[in-house]
Amino acid sequence: MRARPPAALEHGAVPWLLVVALATAGPHAEHLPAWLTVLVAAALLWRTWLWHQQQRMPPRWSLALLVIAAVAAIGWQFGSLFGKDAGVAMLVLFMALKPLEMHNRRDALVVIMLGYFLLLTHYFYSQSIPTGLWLLAACTLLTGALLRLHGGAQPVIAIARDAGLLLLQALPFMLLLYLLFPRVTGPLWGLPQDAHAGLSGLPSQMSPGSISNLTLSGAIAFRSRFAGEIPEQADLYWRGPVFDEYDGVTWRASRQHGRSPAPAPVIEARGPAHDYSSILEAHNQRWLLALDVPTRLPPDSSLAATLEAQSREPLRIRSRFSFSSVLDYRVNRMEAPASLQQALTLPPQGNPRTRALASEWQSRPPARIAEAALAMFRQEDFHYTLRPPLLGADAIDEFLFDSRRGFCEHYASAFVFLMRAAGVPARVVAGYQGGELNPVDGYLTVRQSDAHAWAEIWLADEGWLRIDPTAAVAPSRIEQGIVAALPAGEPLPGIIRLDADWMRDLRNRWEAANNTWNQWVLGYNPQRQREVLSRLGWPDPDWRSMTALLAVLCGLALLLVALWTLPGRRRDDPVQRAWQAYCAQLGRRGIVRADWEGPLDFAQRVAREKPELATLTSEAARHYAELRYGEGDGDSDGEPLRRLQQCVQRLPPQRRRRI
């Protein structure tokens, strides 16, 4: 092809491109440094003003200087030019500056391609249903801009309609590709460090306030669906990290287990198993929050010596796991001496009053010691609150004897301290307790606000036994959930404290829709793809046959789109159709109209060759000629057409041929 100068950019197309730049770069303002947002806004406003005044664009060298300065600033701000956030910042910068050197249609095309790419980067930050809808709207806008660029001026509505129609026709391809395109588990190479920032969940160590802070969030931690009955609310203890090392302030998981692998736990089931599957939000940790205690684990996971189910890799994307758990159990009646020793270790100093109290109880049997501690919580003036006073150096002393106001982590921590001081092996378990059934889809929703901490003690014949000191203070926390346990005025998130039924119902519906979205759209990974295809009757697809099927189906869809948009074969012209029907009838009677024969000429020939049809044919020909070539057909009421159509019916019946 010979090279032509690129087509000029129409003045009227420029606003489309500016809106494209605004729509694709604008929403990123949330994640970008303020100076970049200001720069982007200024560049776009400047370009709009230049467009309005029909002024020349700035010279190239000044833009080059601006780009170099801004890129340097981005590098300085993010410490690198690569990585997720820096990359997005660069794209946004180019999107804002490219319109300033947009001279022809090719430049405009680059802006739109950049826009398509920028759309993708929005999904780094959110992939919710509203973002998905925004995808469609933004795609329509960008496609409309392409249409405006190549199709000339039209009303905005017409362009939007055409763009929508194009996307509608593209939708079947998207569905086919989504379903059948062989999925690869990412990442393809090491992700930049900032790829998983901002995932929240249970902390990997516990100090006063770490659980209660989490409780302030109404975000969903995971959802579970049980194959059978959902167990009692008071039995729903979802096990997270186990903390067995205390330094006076913070509880941690002891490193000892990591160094020399402890023997696998021995679980004796004493009740029925419950099957369920959970969809966990990404929390960038390894624990899988199984119900105490899991007996069957999903693949690629293991049970730690301290009974928490762990995946091999930290959980960085929302994932689905199936478990089986028993709620009535005995575990590790024979515990390794090293573990018991760890479960008795306390810091050498601190909290003298607590140690004195424990030494009073030391002579009693271990079960009675626990009972005494719980009785103290129950009978004396302890309060359950999200806003405990700040504690000093001897935190447990101050809590047990002075302030007596605390959240679950205070009670669990004080209880375990007491037990260890009295010679009973004990440890802190963090996790979630309870959950709320969503009647819309039958999933049990567990939120960050359900985060909880409890204790376990080890008794010689019983093994590890769960003791929840919070239940002694606020039984309703365990039986009915945190909303019932905390007095009004506590700073709980609004989403879990909905009083009106309709609002609760609305929230349930929204979350059920989100759950479906998460499972079927966002959670569509290689494993899910195999599941779906085998359910569709294709048990073991490999990528080659999938690609082949995909190609065939896309070809078929292409054919359908082609047929849909094929020119209507003039069947919408009733005049032509009626006249052709008449001529076809005459053809059966032995007079075939030649292609070049006009209606009136044909009528004359018919009059010569078949005089009995002369009047009717000349009438039909006159009507046809009038409709086709006559004047004033604009205000016709269809009467001549009806008469032409009647001519066909008025033809005398054909003489039957003798066989």
Partner: protein, 324 residues
């Protein structure tokens, strides 16, 4: 080279189209991605890698939607040409150096509009057209003429990038276009009339002293003789009236090849003759034309002027050009 030409002739259907109207069937429409389309493909590939790497389900969805959009755009670009009907019209003669306009009647038989159709002859300016659903339009495809004679502009290149500019579909309709190109007129004083008399006549250009009355218009009368004012005054009458003139302008004038300066080339002499014809016609003179081997009897009017100019245009090479 020879083989390549034959291949192109076969692939692109380069023979002259004889049927009327020319219908663009799929055999005649070609489609390739534009540079923008290739950029789009590269962007999609990068987006897919990004979506896989970051496990972005919506990123997959967006990439797949855009891939579908590209496929659909290909179909639409093809259909923007498919089924279009073209009928060539007769091109009005033009003077060398002017634009010859080749009328092309377009008919859109389908119920969707067609947009951004670009027509051009090879290396010639482009004209674009839009067609409404089942609409018709007539466009004039321009051709910058250079020399007198019978002009065969060659095939038309019909291109479209609508709707998204990702693909370029084109076709090479080759309607039986032909146009007579007159020699470029060279203005020199008319022969046989003294410059003084010529100037006198120019002063009386409005011709009022020679005005001899009105008569109904005949079809051969030049349109500029119509007495529009008189027609407007007598609105009840159907026929147009023309002004009749009397006077010296009706003298016979022979524009003869032998009167042109022999030292100039043939083309210049033809141009001088063309200039004389234009001047004589403007003065409403009654003139005849003598060329070596042919002669046109004196007359006046638009038809006469056209036949004289055509004789100049085709002088000397008529047979050779027609044989093609």
């Amino acid at each position: 080279m020879r083989r390549r030409e034959r291949f192109q002739r076969w692939l692109f259907h380069l023979a002259r189209d004889e049927q009327v109207p020319i219908v663009l069937t799929q055999r005649r429409i070609f489609i390739v991605p534009t540079s923008g389309g290739l950029l789009f493909a590269v962007v999609l590939a990068v987006m897919l890698i990004g979506a896989i790497n970051y496990n972005l389900s919506l990123g997959h969805a967006l990439t797949f939607l855009l891939a579908g959009l590209g496929l659909v755009a290909m179909v639409h670009t093809f259909h923007n040409l498919f089924g279009l009907r073209l009928t060539a019209g007769r091109a009005e003669p033009a003077f060398a150096g002017d634009l010859a306009r080749f009328p092309l009647a377009l008919e859109n038989p389908r119920r969707q509009p067609r947009r951004a159709l670009e027509f051009s002859f090879k290396d010639q300016p482009v004209v674009t057209a839009d067609l409404s659903p089942q609409g018709r339009a007539t466009i004039a495809v321009p051709f910058v003429t250079h020399q007198r004679g019978r002009l065969d502009p060659g095939r038309v290149t019909l291109t479209t990038r609508y709707p998204l500019g990702l693909f370029r579909a084109w076709s090479y309709p080759y309607p039986p276009f032909s146009c007579v190109v007159y020699p470029k007129p060279l203005r020199t004083p008319l022969p046989g009339a003294s410059p003084g008399a010529h100037a006198d006549h120019r002063q009386g250009d409005s011709g009022q002293e020679d005005f001899a009355g009105l008569r109904p218009r005949q079809i051969s009368d030049p349109t500029r003789h119509i007495a529009w004012k008189a027609v407007a005054r007598r609105s009840d009458e159907q026929a147009l009236l023309v002004k009749q003139f009397a006077g010296g302008a009706m003298d016979e004038l022979w524009l003869d090849w032998s009167l042109t300066p022999a030292e100039r080339g043939d083309e210049d002499r033809l141009s001088i003759l063309a200039g004389w014809i234009m001047a004589a016609d403007e003065q409403q003179a009654c003139y005849g034309l003598r060329l070596p081997g042919q002669q046109i009897a004196p007359a006046q009017g638009d038809a006469h002027r056209s036949s004289c100019l055509q004789a100049l245009a085709l002088y000397g090479e008529t047979e050779a050009r027609d044989a093609r």
